[in-house]
């Protein structure tokens, strides 16, 4: 089989609807041997300790096997052997870029289990912090994607410059830049001072300028378009069947945002739109993140305008030594990377009987092979970057 025939065979294999959920089998032509390459864990494109075993026929990817688990820290089993409160700082370390959304998802699960109410002001603070987290996650995700494309430094440094302002806000409120450990069952740990809220308003007022800057810097760049457009297509059918969530799913054109579906917290009070892609490629995933940042800024402006006074903690809530009634609860939120869920079963003891995390990074990673098959090896790095994973959450 000549190489032109091979391309045609690949395309026809991808175009039959019954094969959309099945990775196409591309037979090597026998003219040369397959080259097996291990990309990572020391390859600069891989985030953390992640490796891809790739079989190449020339430049074309025939097989791709993601290898992970090197960062396994027994998170779920530890969660079953320590108290509910003591798991909270460990959730910071799942997706260490966005610890506050992890806190929220876990707090939501425990609040469902115990039936605690969250005061108004704490709800607003949670929304403000979650949207700030989303902006800084998307900014750094775009920076990493461009870094992998070969734009060595500039977009990433611009993103980190802005991220640093948001992390300073986190430090001012929670005491830590990344390992915030801020939310509690039935509220938040400390109240935000008026000075902090003013500072937050100032930072949020500067964010549209930053998004515009990134927009001018990248969005019409011809090299970026040539590298991204039409690369790494994820069909909506496959995305749904694989359980992909977050910006990845919305870039495949599926309108599914848990903020809109579940209205957890107080998201039903804010006006925002859900951007969708219609080319399903890497460029769409990049643009979805740009647009989501703008929507998040809109939510932040509304939340910072409306935030009421009052307590930030349910006065009846107990921090330690509580025993929820036997039962189960699943708390899920729209984390920056997708649906983050915590599933808890209580047997009436001080520790959860079962503690399970549904990590968006791991589940979004399962479609990596399907997106990469038949693509050039140079595009694998790009497709991998567009998934936006954090190894702390993949391996747990």
């Amino acid at each position: 089989m000549t190489s032109t025939n091979k391309v045609a065979a690949f395309e026809s294999a991808r175009n039959k609807p019954e094969d959309w959920n099945r990775p196409p089998i591309i037979e090597p032509d026998g003219e040369g041997e397959l080259l097996e390459v291990a990309m990572g864990p020391h390859h600069p494109s891989t985030h953390g300790v992640f490796r891809m075993d790739i079989a190449l026929d020339g430049e074309r990817v025939i097989r791709l096997k993601p290898v992970f688990g090197y960062l396994h820290r027994n998170h779920e089993k530890i969660g079953e052997s320590i108290s509910y409160l003591a798991s909270m700082p460990f959730t910071d370390r799942l997706d260490y870029i966005c610890s506050l959304t992890n806190n929220w998802a876990y707090a939501l699960a425990v609040e469902k289990l115990t039936g605690q109410e969250v005061p108004e002001r704490a709800q607003y603070l949670r929304v403000i912090l979650a949207e700030l987290t989303r902006i800084q996650n998307h900014a750094s995700a775009i920076g990493f994607l461009l870094q992998e494309m070969g734009a060595s430094g500039t977009p990433l440094m611009y993103a980190f410059r802005e991220r640093e302002k948001i992390l300073d806000l986190f430090e001012g409120l929670t005491g830590s830049r990344m390992m915030c450990n801020y939310m509690r069952f039935g509220g938040c740990r400390v109240d935000a001072s008026a000075a902090w809220l003013d500072e937050a308003r100032k930072v949020v007022a500067g964010l549209p300028g930053f998004v515009d800057e990134i927009d001018r810097l990248l969005c019409s760049n011809e090299i970026l378009m040539a590298r991204c457009q039409g690369v790494g297509i994820l069909r909506p059918e496959l995305a749904i069947n694989a359980g992909v969530t977050g910006p990845m799913l919305r870039a495949s054109g599926i309108n599914y945002d848990i903020r809109k579906v579940d209205h957890y917290g107080i998201y039903d009070r804010f006006q925002f739109r859900v951007p969708l892609g219609d080319h399903w490629d890497v460029y769409d995933r990049f643009m979805i993140r740009m647009l989501e940042m703008r929507e998040s800024i809109g939510i932040l402006e509304q939340a910072l305008k409306d935030i009421p006074g009052g307590p930030v903690m349910d006065p009846k809530a107990k921090i330690r030594g509580f025993r929820p009634k036997p039962g189960e609860a699943y708390g899920r939120i729209e984390a920056p990377k997708g649906e983050l869920g915590f599933y808890l079963i209580s047997d009436g003891g001080p520790n959860p009987y079962r503690y399970r995390v549904r990590p968006p990074s791991l589940i979004n990673l399962t479609v990596l092979e399907d997106m990469c098959l038949g693509q050039n090896v140079a595009d694998v790095v790009l497709i991998f970057g567009s998934v936006d994973i954090v190894l702390g959450e993949v391996d747990r």
Binding site: S83, M88, P89, D168, G172, M179, N221, I223, R320
Partner: protein
């Protein structure tokens, strides 16, 4: 025009580059050991034990006598990575409320294990353990050098006021309130005892008068 987008991007980087010579806002990094950014008040890294400078009870060095910790071991139990080790004393000392309490005969924190989550601070009912802001703690001895004992952990309340002024003022107000409450209780008890004694005496006198 092909290349227009690239030129637009280049103009953006040029603006930032040129701007960094004129505007301090565009210079976002500092030369760390020589220059330092202003500390943020809420910052935390590792825990320390607060002691009050005025000796409470008993002898020994000032830090040992003034420790607020009563070795209740709640922090040891709640610590997620289990980096705290406490040994309770055999005898008791009077605390600032005038109540006899145990004290930690040994209080070790392994800061190579500690993950700065501040749950120990949150669960402490005696305001005895607080978060420090000291981060330049590198040492050549990775076992002994990072295992802090109670002498290394003990720091005066004035230091706490210096690093977290707002929080420390709140804590002091809370402790003063507790003290006032305890004093009022003692006074009320004393008054009641005095009143009872007076009544007893009066009753006795009356009985004595009756007999006479």
């Amino acid at each position: 025009m092909l290349g227009e987008g690239i030129l637009k991007g280049l103009a953006e980087t040029a603006k930032n580059f040129a701007g960094s010579y004129f505007s301090a806002e565009r210079l976002t990094t500092v030369e760390y050991p020589e220059q330092r950014i202003a500390p943020i008040e809420a910052t935390r890294d590792f825990p320390f034990l607060v002691f009050d400078a005025e000796n409470r009870d008993g002898g020994g060095p000032e830090w040992e006598a003034g420790l607020r910790c009563v070795a209740c071991q709640i922090c040891e139990k709640e610590c997620p990575p289990k980096c705290i080790y406490i040994e309770k004393s055999k005898d008791k000392k009077l605390d600032y409320l005038g109540k006899a309490q145990y004290y930690p005969a040994r209080f070790d924190i392994d800061i190579s294990v500690c993950m700065s989550c501040q749950i120990c601070v949150e669960v402490c009912p005696f305001e005895a353990i607080k978060m420090d802001t000291e981060f330049e703690l590198s040492t050549t001895d990775r076992f002994g050098g990072l295992l802090l004992d109670r002498e290394q952990l003990a720091k005066p309340n004035e230091y706490y006021h210096k690093i977290h002024p707002t929080e420390a003022a709140k804590v002091d107000a809370h402790l003063a309130g507790e003290k006032a409450k305890a004093d009022a209780k003692v006074k009320a008890a004393a008054d009641a005892a005095a009143a009872k004694a007076a009544a007893d005496a009066a009753a006795k006198a009356a009985t004595a008068g009756g007999e006479a």
